[in-house]
């Protein structure tokens, strides 16, 4: 794996991270460090563990080994600085809430238990809706939204958290080209303000124009670092072409035999 110079004051540090589903490891020993203020793409084929990586960092999945640190702290100490855009399909869009209701959820972490949202919170939410061009949809029932509008609603909710690092799971899925451009320029202004944005991305065409850094992933870490250095034909070949069959065979073996993947 390509060695990278140690990153100073990283926004994210992942150390020896292994994650298993039903005992079969789907991420093997991931080590990486991401500096602050970068727009970072996580690239890899289907089943590479891109969403799993994000979810593990967010503490949504149990880790088999390793740890993740954000701003040199464990996640639970800095949750208020971290924002998350889950995959659009992960929720029921027939749920009886309005667009504004969903965006207001981004404020709940700051509000704390039992507190009612104040006008200031509503203002923040409306401002975030405006940033994604959805202010006229604020009172719309979410079942009436198109895929792209759902995605922008989720984005607005994440913005409403006013965090320092953003994890986005396929924010461009189902979004039309014009909206994608608008979202990217929004993310650009965020990174210009020293926010870190980490995005699971599918479209290889746009990688080099969109991202400062890339993480190439295929159940193991292939490479990570500045796009112009890492996003090469050779590395892509390694990410997409050479599936390590032996690795997944061993994973299957661990599951079949009910073998603990750590002693």
């Amino acid at each position: 794996m390509e060695a990278v110079n140690a990153v100073k004051a990283p926004a994210l540090e992942v150390h020896d991270l292994t994650v298993a589903f039903d005992r079969k490891p789907v991420l093997w020993n991931i080590d990486l460090e991401i500096p602050q203020g970068k727009l970072v793409g996580i690239i890899g084929p289907n089943g590479a563990g891109k969403s799993t990586l994000i979810k593990s960092i967010m503490g949504l999945l149990p880790l088999s080994s390793g740890y993740c640190k954000l701003f040199d702290e464990s996640i639970d100490k800095v949750r208020h600085r971290i924002s998350y855009v889950p995959q659009r399909e992960s929720v029921d869009w027939d749920f009886p809430v309005s667009v504004l209701d969903v965006v207001m959820m981004g404020r709940y972490g700051k509000l704390g238990l039992l507190k009612r949202p104040r006008q200031a919170d509503i203002d923040v939410a409306m401002d975030c809706l405006k940033k994604v061009g959805m202010e006229s949809f604020a009172n719309r029932q979410i079942a009436q939204l198109s895929g792209g509008q759902q995605q922008r609603t989720f984005l607005a909710r994440a913005l409403a958290q006013q965090a320092d690092i953003y994890f986005m799971d396929e924010p461009f899925a189902g979004v039309d080209a014009a909206t994608e451009k608008a979202i990217i320029s929004l993310l650009r202004t965020m990174t210009a303000n020293n926010k870190t944005v980490i995005v699971v991305h599918h479209d290889l065409q746009s990688v080099s124009t969109y991202f400062d850094w890339v993480i190439l992933l295929n159940t193991r870490l292939v490479a990570y670092g500045p796009t112009e250095r890492i996003f090469t034909q050779e590395k892509l070949q390694e990410t997409y072409g050479g599936k390590l069959t032996l690795l997944s065979d061993v994973g299957d073996l661990i599951r079949r035999e009910n073998f603990p993947n750590r002693e």
């Binding site: 979810k55 967010m58 503490g59 949504l60 639970d76 949750r79 208020h80 971290i82 998350y84 889950p86 992960s90 929720v91 029921d92 749920f95 009886p96 809430v97 309005s98 209701d101 969903v102 959820m105 709940y108 972490g109 509000l111 238990l113 039992l114 009612r116 949202p117 029932q141 079942a143 909710r157 958290q161």
Partner: protein
């Protein structure tokens, strides 16, 4: 005095207890059940309701008294145990949740019946009344019960209000709630405890078997009528309270009638009525909408035929017999006559005796339909690469519901063409 005014004067303390008890139970169960419903865990409510029975029996056996505190404690333990067992089976084996619920529900309930039978045969003088938990005993509630119910109901309502935003978020998007740092595990524990509590109290009114209806059905009713979660909770609570009240009243007017089952019948009737009558989501409304669509299609087809008949001679206002229309396009004679009547009423057709003709308005509407039909055929052949002999059917439906905006787009994209793929002229 009629039984109605007699009942609603609440002069009889017994009426008072039963009514207040029933309303409190149904309303607070409805609130808690709405979260269960939205979380798509409706069956879990049913499982808990059945699983508290062995707990109640154990509570009685171990304490030797019918002190509600022990019974509730026992109910809590087995209610919880059943949830845990369902979760364990689902996560640790290949058995899916519905099967796990079925398994656990019947095992716990069976065990409960076993204990209940044992208690009844044991000759313990205290035991009479335990079987009320099976089918409820709303009609024999007394002042002490009402106090317990009120306390529980107020607790449940307050907790629902206090944690409304957290529960809503958790039910909508659990992962996001965890990511925000909400104490999701604790909140889930709280919500489940609330469900168990609602069940433990509720089964005294309607019994184990019918409890799920009181928990879930009001939410299902409410969902038909609103898209706002806040209104949904209010409607669910009112639905629950109303059926509690109605159940108490019915069993009052017909003394041999049980309260609990009537509560469930009232709720179910409301659910059925909502299913049929609710605006937008109701079956009746959908049926009417479908019928409106079918009529529009038929009416526009009649106009279209008259237009096409006029195209040869360029005179669209010739009076024609219904038979001429049928010769061009095979309509059912009766429904054609109804269409003609409707179109005359709306001013699209004029009738003189047996003959009818397009009006100016009718001609314009027909022209638009014909235009969209031909434009769409052209679009399918030039832009979607569909063979010209395969496009007619598609265009036949599209022509009736294309919006003016899409119509303008279509004209722009095709750049106002003169003829369609079959060389027919496109009218503008």
């Amino acid at each position: 005095m009629s039984s109605f005014t007699e009942f609603f004067s609440f002069a009889d303390p017994n009426v008072r207890y039963v009514t207040i008890g029933a309303v409190l139970i149904t309303a607070s169960s409805a609130l808690v059940g709405t979260f269960t419903f939205l979380n798509k865990k409706s069956l879990l409510g049913d499982a808990i309701a059945h699983a508290v029975l062995p707990g109640i029996c154990l509570g009685f056996l171990l304490s030797g008294t019918k002190n509600p505190l022990y019974l509730i404690l026992g109910a809590f333990v087995t209610g919880w145990l059943s949830l845990y067992a369902i979760q364990y089976i689902t996560t640790k084996s290949r058995i899916k949740e519905d099967t796990a619920i079925g398994l656990i529900l019947s095992v716990f309930f069976g065990f409960g019946i076993l204990l209940l039978t044992y208690i009844q045969k044991s000759g313990n003088a205290n035991q009479s009344g335990l079987d009320h938990f099976l089918f409820g005993k709303a009609a024999s509630m007394v002042a002490a019960d009402i106090i317990t119910f009120s306390v529980v109901a107020v607790c449940l309502m307050t907790l629902t209000l206090l944690f409304f935003k957290e529960f809503t978020l958790m039910v909508f998007d659990r992962n996001y709630a965890v990511a925000l740092g909400l104490p999701v595990k604790k909140l889930e524990l709280l919500l489940t405890s609330m469900i168990v509590l609602a069940v433990v109290v509720g089964i005294q009114a309607v019994g184990v078997v019918l409890m799920a209806a009181v928990l879930i059905t009001p939410a299902a009713v409410a969902r038909f009528w609103t898209n706002s979660i806040r209104i949904m909770f209010v409607v669910a609570a009112i639905t629950g309270a109303f059926s509690g009240l109605a159940g108490a009243y019915i069993s009052y007017t017909a003394p041999s009638m049980p309260t609990g089952p009537w509560i469930v019948i009232v709720i179910s009737t409301l659910a059925l009525a909502s299913f049929l009558l609710a605006p937008t989501k109701g079956v009746l409304n959908r049926f009417l909408k479908q019928r409106r669509f079918r009529r529009t299609i038929q009416d526009e087809n009649v106009l279209k035929v008259l237009y096409q008949l006029g195209e040869g001679s360029k005179n669209f206002y010739i009076h024609r017999y219904a038979e001429e229309i049928i010769r061009k396009r095979n309509f059912n004679k009766q429904s054609l006559m109804r269409s003609i009547q409707r179109l005359c009423r709306q001013g699209y057709l004029e009738k003189s005796g047996e003959l009818c003709s397009l009006t100016e308005e009718g001609k314009n509407r027909a022209k638009r339909v014909v235009k969209i039909h031909r434009l769409w055929e052209l679009y399918l052949t030039t832009h979607v690469n569909i063979a010209p002999d395969h496009v007619h059917e598609d265009a036949d439906t599209i022509e009736h519901f294309l919006t003016p905006e899409l119509e303008a787009d279509l004209e722009r994209i095709l750049n106002y063409p003169v003829v369609d793929p079959h060389k027919a002229e496109i009218p503008y």
